[in-house]
Amino acid sequence: MDAFERSFTLNVPSSTENLAMIRDFVASIGAKAGFDEDEAARITLAVDEACANVIEHAYGSEETHVVTVRARLDNRDLVFDIIDNGRGFVAGQIDELDVEELIRRRKSGGLGLRLIRAIMDEVNYQITPGEKNELHMVKRLRRD
């Protein structure tokens, strides 16, 4: 098959109100990539988690910034880059606790990155606080 790549970009104001719009965008790309409904739903969740983290942590819930969701689809992968220019965030210790322990401590956070890692095949960051932060997530189209 010839190599091809398609690229899609959504820029939205940094309000959690726009997460539903982001999910619609991701779900339609997931379907376009050929994922079944369940898998597309999981990918949508991973991107939602990443964008919610950006809005709440990188931007401190300020609604005046921009969140960029860039999707690239080729023969092999569906790739999402979530881009912001906020404070950046790094997975903290809380992320390593198991869910039972989080419940015991009455913690409601610490699940987003865990979900992203469980769903995506590859996850990495490039963080330059205040300039540009990029979360890079890859989902393989096929498991070989």
Binding site: T16, A20, R42, A52, R106, G112, L115
Partner: protein, 120 residues
Amino acid sequence: MPQSFQVDISETEGVRILAVQGYLDAHTAPSFESSIEAEIRSGKVRLVVDCAGLTYISSAGLGVFMSFLEDAREQGGDIKLAAITPKVFQIFDVLGFPKLFDIASTVEEAAARFAQARES
């Protein structure tokens, strides 16, 4: 325009039923958190969350269940989940929630488990 999220609360035989409609994400979770918190603060700790109308949940929504479960159980109650659709269940499952929460197929079954626990 349809509401993105709504909770309707009713009571049957001392069990509070919270019927959720719509999606629970970082935008709507605070509203659900207020509802659960109000129940628990007023001593209503036998809660069933009817998830039949729940179309989507992210970690923000899951976090609400997590942060109040111990409070409810310590006061002799529980937060039981009922009628979760397969699409939403798979998200609970990724994080191992079925082992940590009491999940029933129907609201009636979840409510009955409170009665059984009281009798035993």
